[in-house]
Amino acid sequence: MARAISPQRKWLTTIAAWIVAIVIFFPVLWMVITSFKTEASAVAMPPQLFTASWTTENYADVWARSDYPRFFMNSVIIAVGSTLLGLAIAIPSAWAMAFVPGKRTKDLLMWMLSTKMMPAVAVMIPLVLAFQALGLFDTRIGLVLALMLMNLPIIIWMLYTYFKEIPAEILEAARMDGAGLWNEIVYVLTPMAIPGIASTMLLNVILAWNEAFWTITLTTTKAAPLSAFIASFSAPQGLFYAKLSAASTMAILPILILGWFSQKQLVRGLTFGAVK
């Protein structure tokens, strides 16, 4: 906004905004700080900041105590795999809904979203049984499928809102030039939709990475991702604060870095494509 604002007011709002931002961020910051303290220092009262004794041993301990690389790889495969598979199914659907809308398109979209409202716990036992029967229990492929289905409504909805912004005239022009349906999607629509697809992808990787119900319920060891890794470090009773913090930092750091580096697309993605 280009309104004339007095320098004092600018400083006041800047200070106020920074205080608010730091308060919101503080729990994450405190977790990272705690992860570098010794256990004794981490639980000391009053809390130590400048007088604390620092160490990187917690990270070495967590690394030695559990197979972090395996959990990490499982998280990457599940988050990326479910998102890519979801996009493959969702792109044609969202295309059709955006450019050849029928009378029931909006109802269909709302129905898809409403499937997400079914409480996961309600169907937990049948799903575990079904996954065991199909040999999908505790497999990466099983989790890729489960998380893909969980996020599919969101993926379709986001793509739909992005595709709707693309003017239909461009598609008509392509069609006049003799482009078939497939070519139209691959060469005309997709390049224009890349920013929207990127945002959708990013957001859904994050949602899948952070999913902590199915990833814990449908795995035991082989396919367990970082959400299960962190669950195994819980219940510390005050004695393992530093190690818990180190493990927590290791679980969220990859996605935190990804999110911060791709901030622009992410902000677009976080609005689910629904706010301009």
Partner: protein, 290 residues
């Protein structure tokens, strides 16, 4: 542009999504429905048989059920209220010409990247813990008794943690919406002598309707199933003080090992979720003409 063949093609393109989502929804639902009328306890695997609507009767008559309903409502309503109100205020603040807006935004989004078990355990251990938590230290510094957050105010604590997780989402959507508001309109109102409250009430707020709608819709979808935050912190207690409907079902299935009862609870939860979904989609669908 809708010739017969494009229509057919578009149907074929929508079909896979509809099909997989339908299977994903219908198969577990059918199995849950079947179990809900059966005797099925993991501790007595030899006994089985039909029990009619007994599980449903048990569920609806359990005192815990109505408590759990109230808690679920408090969780969804509380988090929505906090995130929309605080989100609007924070968005208004960040939307001002402040220094370092980009860096500010990075800090504000951070909680969104924290997976629920981590968020819950940071808050439980590093902040709310009555002996070693930062809040306890703060209380002691002020000469007060530490507050037993998870024992005395379990539901409020869970609401607070969940609201922290969802605040970035609400703030960002509202901020994005605010930034698309034309500054000429606000300037004109300012020159006409409209107070800052009047400008907010009559120009900014109406402009935010759609954004608030999106926040409510998306958050409700996720909040109805909140589980990890409760599991990590209070385990639904003390007693049943922070047991929500999903958590009550979980307790029946995993702790009591009564799959039949849990299934009946699941069906009740699905029905309730559908009622909420119906009103939400009807009420909000109009605002959502995407």
């Amino acid at each position: 542009m809708s010739t017969h063949s494009t229509r057919l093609a578009s149907r074929l393109m929508v079909a896979p999504s509809v099909l997989v989502l339908f299977v994903w929804m219908a198969v577990p639902l059918a199995m849950t429905l079947y179990f809900s009328f059966r005797f099925y306890r993991l501790l007595t695997p030899d006994r089985s048989g039909w029990v009619g609507i007994n599980h449903y009767k048990w569920f609806l008559n359990a005192p815990e059920f109505w408590l759990a309903m109230g808690n679920t409502l408090a969780l969804v309503g509380g988090v929505l209220l906090i995130t929309v109100v605080l989100g609007t205020l924070i968005a208004l603040l960040i939307d001002q010409p402040v220094k370092g807006q980009g860096a500010l935004r990075i800090l504000v989004i951070a909680p969104f990247f924290v997976m629920p078990p981590v968020a819950a355990s940071i808050w439980e251990n590093l902040f709310m813990h009555p002996q070693n938590g930062l809040f306890a230290a703060l209380a002691q510094g002020l000469g007060m008794q530490p507050i037993l957050f998870l024992e005395q105010y379990p539901m409020s604590s869970v609401i607070g943690i969940t609201a922290w997780e969802w605040l970035p989402f609400a703030t960002l959507i509202l901020l994005t919406a605010m930034q698309s508001l034309s500054s000429e309109q606000l300037e004109a109102a300012e020159m006409d002598g409209a107070s800052s409250f009047a400008r907010f009430r009559y120009i900014i707020l109406p402009h935010l309707t759609r954004a608030i709608t999106v926040v409510i819709l998306i958050e409700t979808i996720f909040l109805l199933g909140i589980f990890g935050e409760i599991y990590t912190t209070t385990q639904g207690g003390p007693g049943s003080a922070s047991t929500t409907l999903p958590y009550m079902i979980y307790k029946q299935a995993i702790i009591a090992k009564d799959i039949g009862r849990a299934a009946a609870g699941g069906i009740i939860a699905v029905i309730l979720a559908n009622i909420v979904a119906y009103f939400l989609m009807r009420g909000l669908g109009r605002n959502l003409d995407a």
